[in-house]
Point group: D2
Amino acid sequence: MSTREEFYTRIDKDALAPLWTRLKSLVPAEPTPVGIPYLWRYRDIRPHVLESATLISAMEAERRVLILENPSLRGLSQVSNTLYAGVQLLMPGEIAPAHRHTQSALRFILEGSGAYTAVDGEKTLMQRGDFVITPSWTWHHHGNDSSEPTIWLDGLDIPMVAFFNSTFREDHDRVEADVHRPLGDSPARYGQGLLPVGHVARSLNSPVFNYPYARTREALATIAAHDMPDAAHGHLMRYINPLDGGWAMPTIAPTIQLLPNGIETTPYRSTDAKVFVVVEGGGALHLGDQSLVFDESDIFVVPGWVSHHFSTTAETVLFAFSDRVVQEKIGIFREQR
Amino acid sequence: MSTREEFYTRIDKDALAPLWTRLKSLVPAEPTPVGIPYLWRYRDIRPHVLESATLISAMEAERRVLILENPSLRGLSQVSNTLYAGVQLLMPGEIAPAHRHTQSALRFILEGSGAYTAVDGEKTLMQRGDFVITPSWTWHHHGNDSSEPTIWLDGLDIPMVAFFNSTFREDHDRVEADVHRPLGDSPARYGQGLLPVGHVARSLNSPVFNYPYARTREALATIAAHDMPDAAHGHLMRYINPLDGGWAMPTIAPTIQLLPNGIETTPYRSTDAKVFVVVEGGGALHLGDQSLVFDESDIFVVPGWVSHHFSTTAETVLFAFSDRVVQEKIGIFREQR
Amino acid sequence: MSTREEFYTRIDKDALAPLWTRLKSLVPAEPTPVGIPYLWRYRDIRPHVLESATLISAMEAERRVLILENPSLRGLSQVSNTLYAGVQLLMPGEIAPAHRHTQSALRFILEGSGAYTAVDGEKTLMQRGDFVITPSWTWHHHGNDSSEPTIWLDGLDIPMVAFFNSTFREDHDRVEADVHRPLGDSPARYGQGLLPVGHVARSLNSPVFNYPYARTREALATIAAHDMPDAAHGHLMRYINPLDGGWAMPTIAPTIQLLPNGIETTPYRSTDAKVFVVVEGGGALHLGDQSLVFDESDIFVVPGWVSHHFSTTAETVLFAFSDRVVQEKIGIFREQR
Amino acid sequence: MSTREEFYTRIDKDALAPLWTRLKSLVPAEPTPVGIPYLWRYRDIRPHVLESATLISAMEAERRVLILENPSLRGLSQVSNTLYAGVQLLMPGEIAPAHRHTQSALRFILEGSGAYTAVDGEKTLMQRGDFVITPSWTWHHHGNDSSEPTIWLDGLDIPMVAFFNSTFREDHDRVEADVHRPLGDSPARYGQGLLPVGHVARSLNSPVFNYPYARTREALATIAAHDMPDAAHGHLMRYINPLDGGWAMPTIAPTIQLLPNGIETTPYRSTDAKVFVVVEGGGALHLGDQSLVFDESDIFVVPGWVSHHFSTTAETVLFAFSDRVVQEKIGIFREQR
């Protein structure tokens, strides 16, 4: 054993370790991607999702969700280094019972139009393309009063809140929490360019809890009809919190973008891993030699700092979410075209 | 002459004056209202407004506006201590030529539906009840391509900018400034719960330059259908700047409120003078022994720190603006129920 | 009487006036300075200030102050369009009794070293060059336990708060308000790069209520020893509120600047009128053909939008204050080199 | 194999997993502490630190640091779930060569008084008790021109930046980066209640890069002489960024607190793990049945959500750091008395 190794052994007993043998790996020159790029074809996963209803009820499952688990992070329930994604099914007549947790959640609706989520005493109906927020520590349950299954993508900050070790969860003593505000209340109160005089924020999440796709799509159409698309992003918008103009959620940065038909974007990478949903259209995601062809409702993940670009075979709308909002807040977000 | 007076005379030559003879008047115990409460009946002023078109063209007038001058501030072109208001007319085919100025302006549309304002390269069509912003130092002109007269209320911070002595104005070298963005661009880009990624504000005014009444009214209806009205304000909302959640303008605070039919509100006063427009309904403004009965499209002003309340004879919508935003920013706003 | 004039007469009865006859004067192309540049020589005003003690006591006067009244704004108690300045004297043993008002005040100490001001339950001793804040609506009184007269400059936002018509004043029922915190408390708590965990601001004014000249001067000296001076400003710093990094006061922007000996600065103008105190050194202020020679403790005012520059005959330190903070907040501040 | 298990196996091929088997562990009812409470006695680790100089030079090591590795997180180079801590030694005449990285670092000086750190072109001398910041992505090197060893505690956000996978590092092509600003420049420019007019932040870290202990200690003494200590925290202050009043660093929340002699604080826990340095005094940290006796210069860690309290045998000053700043920014910080 060398003198140095002998020293390392000795100090180990005092819970000490030399930095110099680890410095380059602890503080590498640039990021090594965590997780791999991966695409879940909706046509492949939809049957599994529907089959799950035959195996377990929403009530028993609490949340009947198939986790989209990054293939290189199996067992960790992660779609990326910091985020969780899953596909949730609610059958006609079912209720996913009320609970609350530190984690903030987003829902992006893939299928169905009659289910609701109830958050903090208010229901909202969920339709394809709607972006819905469940703020941290708000009671919420989901129900489906319609005659068709409803399927949506869940995005949560589970790994991030676990990393900071600040996870709290509470189950409601009833299946359904009280609903004391009418449908459409929050969108009216916070989502029309107005705010109640004297309103005090109760959360860092946006109080607009449903951003309906009809409005989002119309905004994209108006902008795309006139603007030149950005070379890397086409027409890229972010969902905002009207209380401060920041990202709609404090831990997850949601965006929507329109890529014109036939575009081939320029390579881009950023330090945030992004989960995409193909809302409309189709095309391919290109990463070095690899190409992932995507179609409507497919979901794919691009790890951080992986250069990628898009080509489209139809006018395409992509919803995406990442942890960019946190990286910006703590000053470590980088991007490169 | 007393010793003191002799002293005052002596120091006067050195541009000095005693504070103690003036202290109580300079720093009074509470505000004395500036201006008087006053109501302009739309049925009375509309004929004057229309007649003005026979006397002068929009082109010659630059802006064909009748100033709403507070009766106790005649000659000062002020509706209140800090703000200006006027009623502007644009006849079919007319253009009010392009200029820009430090002052920020709001337009609240009273009549007509085919005129436009063009601000910073973008037109918006103006319909009754729309709230439209012209930010400080942006080129703007107005035009009327329809076959009917258009009449709107102008609210500007002219006395305030004059007080701070920072007024600049420039006339465009053409009647119409370039229009290079399509109709609906700003509302799509900034007014749908989304913002372009990377957007940088060019002004402290909201980039949403038209807040259409249809959306505003629907929001009020949704809220009023369920909420108990506030005793003093009914259902009171403020127009916001989605970039920061603050008031839509840096110098003028615009609000909209719905008063249920038959309500009698509780007395209220605040340090900001408010100019109201009756968008819908009717009723009366009560100030001590005085009552001002109001009907649709009437405009009235309530000076600051004057206690007042409302009664209604129909479901009533009031638009209002004041300097509250500045008073809040500098920490001197007060209100009392 | 022309048709137009007849119309004007007619609408006058309805409290209306044509804009088009007033537009160019209401919204001029650029500011016309309000007030004139003026210098008060300390050697001239000091005898008057001291003499005032023979005419009235601090107790009787409430505040024994000679107002520095801009020669072109006589009778208005204004040093500029928006601000008030005065020179206050406190003789040994005197107390200026406790009151509070909406107005925020600054004190810049000219002479003496044993007087105190007590604000919100805390005293601070005032020495030459110290910059002291009295936040809006805080009880305050002044006392002089030393054996020498104390003289300071007062700067207040009296005209501004009057313009917004939000002046409130209350006299304390005792001469001296309670003092319940020790000397040095606020500077320790807020002025050393630290803040109490959980501190909630009670005002938009900085909680650091005394910025001692010793620290300020040392900072200037350190910077000036190395930095090239700015061509227009030398070494120009602003007093900040550590709670948000903004200006130390919400209505008055205080600065301190060091001009090296022998410098001739480049012309500069801005839309804020500035009141200067010569803390150290001497030189001249040049405005077009006019030059005002200044010496230690002289006070001078430069109205907004008046181009000016400095020359020095010694290393010079200038304290100044203006309404720039408000102009910035409402988006109308302009400057030009 | 049950039907459900067969299903799980089948969907596994499509990178899917059931949430319902993992929900309670993924989203637990409350945090399970990560890492254990642990104390490094300075008298034990100091000999190791000094011995390291005989084994490797600062130049070869790049940074000659012994990592304080939480005993239950061995091999991970972590003192807590999100942070790194180490003890660095610089011998007389040595230089730790220039590099930069995404990570922000703090230094808290334990021993020696002649070494410097050079950050972004400016040196600062480091003395016992000083708190020094190295902002993200700034060139920095350390040197020791004195005749005695210098030892300090390093705190970095290495695990956090690794979690977000945004680590970049660059080695300077010279051992010493250029120093182009004089000693004391940043403290003068940013740390005296003043800021340069027009200053634009280059980082989310405070520009005051050295908070000298002399000032910190004086502030604590002033406050402690008069205030009642908080039952749980004594006199607890946070180091701030004067540009915005927030925590001095965007990823690490540094505090300093004074505990009076003989105090026994009340139990407290919060979701952030805290690393403490005993700057002065001594006493014990109590956690349930466990007590860790501490003396001057000892370092200890308390994992998040572990209830603890203090008793002292002398007037005690504790420096501490945690990730509270990030937890607050993302809305998940909790504390409980």
